[in-house]
């Protein structure tokens, strides 16, 4: 048993680090997961990675993947987290991409995979509905066959960044008489410019525009946009969700977040002493670091399993639960650390004159509350943490 990286892995880390140092767009700076990014901001790094051939590292080599081992992919994500890089969004890369190359036909692969790799085509996910969130199978959006088209009607919600999307992948009910709600669902690709598709913003707690309602009214989609078999969409949906969950632990990013938290707490003062010297606060930071260390080893153990040929299994639900709990506690502690400057509403105090100085409070305080509010989503999305517990209940405990 040995946690050290091999010399080859170390060399890989050096190569990756040098590449990021040279090529990561300087103007993006340390923006990380901030919500006020433009489409161009989101895609800048993705485009560069696409040219390098590193935008879809986990894909099979024949579809443009890197052939990296799980450990190399872990190193890759760690190195990106070091600079808080804006990573390629998951909707194309980790969600619909794997579904297309696994279940799609040759035309679909040829048509869609290159745009996902390059970042030129922006994807969004049409899973959730107002009445069907974690109980995904109860979705009501219908797709009715009409000649060589499907006619789609319904309403989707939480469609992340759909305001920029070129294409969407939607779960639609194609058989309303199926015996079980999981049956009779199909996985359909929709060009977002098709008449009848309407995207309406949902403003979130943090003031940002990250998610949308997507209305589909008599949207006519050619049947060749059906992925796999009709009525078998649930299988592909579950496959996609398992992929989404691996990597959801966010260990590397949380490690970077703890460093940042320590910097903030070293700067903030309490009774004339740095906050990080305050035992009660330091204790909370230590507890967070300990839980994060445990999560990191658990993820490495899962990776080692993957390296030995086990796909992402129900263990990824543990990573999701623990990872998101830690992300939430981290943003909560950061909010605490910032103190009263957590209160100013960023959008009302931000400079529009292009200067880097925030006019109110230290620069690290500007997004603390916003990020805290935003991160409440993590235990809800991707199958809520309660649903993850249901998955472990069934798949691991056998209850």
């Amino acid at each position: 048993m040995n946690l050290d990286f091999t010399p080859e892995e170390q060399a890989f880390r050096d190569e990756v680090r040098a590449f990021i140092a040279e090529n990561y767009p300087k103007h993006l700076g340390d923006v990380g997961l901030r919500e006020d990014l433009s489409r161009e901001d989101f895609l800048a790094w993705h485009n560069i990675l696409g040219e390098k051939g590193w935008s879809v590292p986990a894909w099979p080599v024949e579809y443009g993947g890197t052939g990296w081992t799980p450990t190399q992919r872990y190193i890759w994500s760690e190195e990106n987290a070091r600079v808080n890089a804006v990573m390629p969004l998951p909707f194309g890369v980790s969600m619909v991409g794997p579904v297309i190359y696994t279940f799609g036909n040759e035309e679909q692969k040829a048509k869609h995979l290159p745009g996902i790799r390059s970042g030129d085509v922006w994807w969004c996910q049409g899973y959730s509905e107002p009445g069907a969130g974690s109980d995904l199978a109860s979705l009501k959006t219908t797709a009715v066959r009409d000649g060589d088209h499907y006619v789609i009607n319904g309403q989707k919600t939480w469609t992340t960044l759909a305001q920029y999307a070129d294409w969407g992948f939607f779960l639609c009910r194609t058989d309303t008489d199926a015996a079980k709600p999981q049956e009779g669902i199909s996985f359909i690709l929709v060009d977002m410019k098709t008449p009848g598709v309407e995207v309406k913003p949902i403003k979130l707690l943090d003031g940002g525009h990250e998610v949308n309602e997507t209305w589909l009214t008599d949207v006519r989609v050619p049947v060749e946009n059906l992925v796999g078999e009709e009525n078998k969409g649930w299988t592909y949906a579950k496959f996609l969700l398992a992929h989404e969950r691996s990597g959801i632990a966010g260990v590397a990013r949380s490690k970077r977040g703890v460093e940042k938290l320590r910097e903030i707490a070293a700067n903030e003062m309490v009774d004339g002493e740095p906050l990080i010297e305050d035992f009660e606060f330091a204790r909370k930071v230590s507890q967070l670091e300990i839980d994060l260390a445990a999560l990191e080893i658990t993820e490495l153990r899962t990776l080692a399993g993957e390296q030995a040929g086990k796909g992402p299994g129900p263990e990824s639900s543990i990573l999701k639960i623990k990872g998101t709990e830690i992300q939430q506690r981290l943003t909560e502690l950061t909010l605490e650390a910032v103190g009263s400057y957590a209160a100013p509403y960023y959008h009302s105090v931000a400079n529009d004159d292009g200067s880097n100085e925030y006019p109110v409070g230290p620069d690290y305080s500007a997004h603390a509350a916003e990020t805290y509010f935003n991160m409440r989503k993590t235990s809800i999305y991707g199958g809520s943490n309660e649903i993850q517990r249901n998955i472990i209940t069934k798949m691991i405990l056998g209850l």
């Binding site: 507890q287 999560l295 658990t298 639960i321 209940t393 405990l397 209850l399």
Partner: protein, 376 residues
């Protein structure tokens, strides 16, 4: 990066697992801990024969050239069966002191006797008023010509009733709680002036209060350098922490399995209680707590040979995380077992008790959280 075990390690695990399953079943254990001896010397002899007691020692001294990972494997299996035999005090602690700082003569005298099972040790480090600070010592050792004279009172010395020898910490200089002036001695328990008050512990082991009254030991009873033993004690106790964490993982694994099994059998309102979502989610959290504990135990074990700060941080992280998991799993297991969980007859309560006492050995959750904080 590699989480695999060697073929030898897998063999040891299989062998031990069989031994615990076949010879350390619940009834046999109960009889043993209630017997006058309170443990099973014949099992100890068997462990010696299998080479288990020699595993973490180098081949030159008659060991098997293993290390911390081997101790982890052993203790995890012991944890599954709530084995009471004193592997940690004898092999990990006394063996650890000898391995790291013992003189040629000390190793020759003691190590082979540990490996062949003929000599059993207890580690007398705690004191009634010292809590978990190894330097907070009222026990003194005064140099007197070619001897040291020990005076003091050591608290809750686990396994002392079974031990032929003690490893004792005492102050040879400096003020109370000073880092300097702490020394370690190996003492024959039958030396004049040593008295003990033996008792059972709530988790089925035996321990003693050990009193030293003008106990004269030869100068060569000192291990390592006089007055400079604190870093050595910390190294050895971090090794003991890693081993005990592995034991707690083993115990948690079984406690979880028992609880899961019980929830499938026990019916209420016409259905097995395992069908209730509120209990399902609690058992998921117990499972997650166990996996967390395993990860931190791996971390602590792997980092035992790292730099001092890294080692201490990992050991403290493990003691905190495994301690929290142990408490959580123990309490939840009892709760889900309902009334049966609080009876002496059901095994689950005994796992709960061991998982409870785990926290107070070599530092509580709060103590190690403080240490983690102090390491920055």
């Amino acid at each position: 990066m590699d989480f695999n075990f060697t073929e030898e390690q897998d063999m040891v695990r299989d062998g031990l697992s069989r031994l615990v399953r076949e010879q350390y079943d619940w009834e046999t254990r109960r009889k043993a801990i209630e017997s006058e001896a309170g443990w099973r010397p014949e099992i100890w002899a068997q462990l010696a024969e299998l080479g288990i007691l020699g595993m973490p020692f180098s081949e030159e001294v008659g060991g098997f050239g293993g290390g911390a990972v081997d101790a982890m494997i052993v203790m995890e299996e012991f944890g599954k069966g709530l084995v009471v035999e004193p592997f940690v005090p004898t092999v990990v602690c006394a063996g650890g002191f000898l391995k790291h700082a013992g003189s040629e003569a000390q190793r020759e005298e003691h190590l082979s006797a540990i490996i062949d099972g003929s000599r059993v040790f207890a580690f007398a480090y705690a004191e009634p008023r010292g809590r978990y600070n190894y330097a907070d010592l009222e026990t003194t050792a005064k140099k007197d010509g070619d001897s040291y004279v020990l005076n003091g009172h050591k608290a809750v010395v686990i396994g002392a009733p079974w031990a032929s020898h003690l490893v004792v910490t005492a102050r040879t200089g400096g003020g109370r709680r000073d880092a300097e002036g702490v020394s370690v001695f190996i003492v024959d328990k039958s030396t004049n002036g040593i008295t003990t008050r033996d008792y059972e512990t709530v988790d089925g082991r035996r321990a003693s209060e050990v009193y030293f009254e003008n106990v004269s030991v030869p100068a060569d009873a000192l291990i390592g350098e006089e007055g400079a033993a604190l870093p050595l004690i910390e190294q050895v106790t971090d090794e003991a922490i890693a081993a005990h964490c592995a034991e707690a993982c083993g115990a948690m694994k079984v406690a979880n399995a028992m609880t899961l099994e019980y929830s499938k059998q026990r019916k209420q309102f016409g259905v097995p209680i395992g069908k209730f979502q509120v209990l399902q989610h609690r058992m998921v959290d117990m499972y997650t707590a166990y996996e967390t504990a395993v990860s931190l135990t791996y971390l602590a074990t792997i980092k035992l040979d790292a730099g001092e700060k890294e080692r201490k941080r990992a050991a403290s992280a493990a003691k905190v995380g495994v301690g929290q998991s142990a408490r959580f799993v123990g309490q939840e297991a009892v709760q889900i077992h309902g009334g049966n969980g609080v009876t002496d007859e059901y095994a689950i309560g005994h796992y709960f008790k061991r998982l409870t006492i785990f926290e107070s050995e070599f530092g509580s959750v709060d103590h190690h959280l403080k240490r983690h904080v102090s390491l920055g």
